[in-house]
Symmetry: C2
Subunit: 343 residues, 2 copies
DNA sequence: ACAAATAACCAAAGCGCTTTGGAGATTTTC
DNA sequence: GAAAATCTCCAAAGCGCTTTGGTTATTTGT
């Protein structure tokens, strides 16, 4: 059933039917009611492509997932972030259009999407320090919003981020207060903006207490369980082994925990661990007494908010860019305790 | 730049330019070359909506993510599956359109998507035993493919599944051969088709050796780490505690392992564990010696293949439905060993 | 050398919607 | 009671593409 058929069926013009459905005032209440019920009965929904052609709006937001040939890794937070964003999209009637793209084709793809006009805006995830995507999108005049920040960008744009440096500074201080002096950092890849900022927070806290920054107990890598395991195992076997670990993801923290126990030590007693916790739905940390002491921030909530920011920008293109900095909660769990030999 | 502008720029008709770009033969090689370079130079890509309107094809595949209000859980395999499917879509020039939908709105949404014609087909994930989605889609005449099977469906449709019953039967036999007599099952929700089949395999293997099926050591629940932990902890404290665990997901297995170690036992010695392993990219089990003995099957590969099946179906609608049953590999890792007291 | 076939191009219709620019009919204003 | 304003509706253009049904040259067949 299309508009033409529906309007013939009703004995009205397409104009009137269209206006009735879209809530324009030039239609009597009686007619509108008739049109609406007829539409429902006949299961009519306007053809998206025709509507898009006519209005110049795609009613879709693009998410481009970078897929490097080197490490074909899917971000564990991807699903939850998408779920959050999807909630906002669904509420506003937008679809989410996903594309995979190899790292070096992203610019081409952005330009292509802009030319094809099949999305009204783009949501950028996982920005690197010197991320070029921000520049490209600004250049193309395509509305966009970033989950995280790209430090290299000079002009304003929409973003939402967790206060990563503050979170890791607080976590480090928490460990220092417990008497830990050798605190290891198991970070994400440090060309990523969030990881860079986290290291910053860690270093700030150490420096503030006059402690040296020791590259021997600092790692940066893609955040897998195995990475947590191997790097912790290695560091624990060093002569001057750390008594605490600051970890960038709960996935990695699971590996850290495995190495600790395999070494015959007890997490929360012999070794303390604080991890960042994105509140991944299949790995909740926070029920009852959390397993890990963590800097907690819901990535799903982030998706929800950021998607709304982007929708607002699309709806109202002249509004100034919006920034949103979320503070992570420091939640105490079972994985931290006083440094050994200090009761 | 649109077709009209491009054709004016070239001094050709829109017809000729369109045909040149789409590879029709009614165009001389010289003209075609001219058109193609001009298109590249001017960064021309046809407007998706206009093209779709004219061809009746959306060049997009729909994925509907059910989001129940009860348990707002995002499937951990979601990301990797999407990544696999996305590879096939990208290669064939299709976009992926995601929508979230609450359980009881799925039918409405399917009908709406069919009416709006903004997807050419739908990929169904996580079918339940009596999944209604298959019926609805068959009813709507919308091409679709299912990851898994819906046992209730009577007529043929496209699906790809892992041989779950065979996998769990083999895994159970493997444990039995090691001398284990008390084997616990930590399954997914058993109204889900895959979980039902896995239990079938487990029970078949036990029955074949004349062993009783004991509900005391069988659990079914949403597959979180916490679920693995609590159910294992409970079962280990039972009088006649199991010596082996058969687990439905590596996420759950991590929780199982936590409970085992917390009880002061050693996985692979005191207690054996076999888990199903979907080869999730951030939690690889298989490097060097796998942590867990596992029934292994790549969900990313599954996404890749199934997406291709759906594309084929869309391209060639009269072809008969395709079924594909993948066998899981039984990979031996560190988590299994002979039953205690049996060297 | 002439009809038939082929090559290379084009004008215009059509996909299903929104929106502009009216046109009657009814109500309000003075 | 005539002019103005307000309602309620409609015909037709336009969004950017594909495709049908030509037309005009150029080759081919005999």
């Amino acid at each position: 059933m299309n508009l033409k058929q529906l309007s013939e069926h009703l004995g009205l013009s397409q104009t009137t039917v269209s206006r009735a459905l879209n809530g324009y005032p030039e239609v009597s209440d009686a007619t509108r009611k008739k049109v609406l019920t007829a539409a429902r009965l006949n299961n009519y929904s306007p053809n998206t492509r025709a509507k898009g052609l006519a209005t110049g709006r795609a009613w879709a937001i693009g998410h481009i997932i970078p897929i490097s040939t080197k490490h074909e890794m899917v971000n564990p937070i991807f699903g939850d972030f998408i779920a959050g964003a999807g909630e906002s999209y669904a509420a506003a009637g937008f679809d989410m259009t996903l594309r995979l793209a190899e790292d070096d084709h992203i610019e081409t793809l952005y330009r292509e999407m802009a030319a094809k006009r099949n999305v009204d805006g783009i949501l950028v995830q996982g920005p690197a320090m010197d991320d070029e995507r921000v520049h490209i999108l600004q250049d193309l005049g395509m509305p966009f919003a970033v989950h995280g920040r790209a430090s290299s960008a000079t002009t304003a744009y929409n973003w939402l981020d967790v206060n990563n440096s503050r979170a890791f500074e607080r976590a480090t201080n928490f460990l220092l207060d417990l008497g830990h002096q050798r605190i290891a950092l198991i970070n994400g890849l440090e060309h990523m903006d969030f990881a860079y900022r986290r290291r910053g927070g860690y270093e700030t806290a150490l420096s503030a207490r006059g402690l040296a920054i020791d590259p021997q107990i600092m790692r940066a890598h893609e955040m897998t369980e195995r990475y947590g395991y191997t790097s912790t195992r290695d560091m624990l076997s060093q002569p001057n082994a750390p008594t605490a670990f600051l970890v960038s993801s709960i996935i990695v923290a699971i590996g850290v925990r495995r190495a600790i126990e395999e070494a015959g030590l007890k997490m929360g007693q012999d070794i303390s661990v604080i991890t960042h916790d994105d509140d991944i739905s299949y790995f909740r940390n926070g029920e009852e007494i959390p397993l890990f002491t963590a800097t907690h921030s819901s990535v799903r909530e982030a998706g929800r908010i950021l998607a709304q920011i982007l929708i607002d920008q699309i709806t109202n293109p002249t509004a100034p860019p919006v920034h949103r900095l979320l503070e992570a909660q420091l939640m105490v769990g079972q994985s931290t305790g006083p440094a050994p030999g200090r009761t």
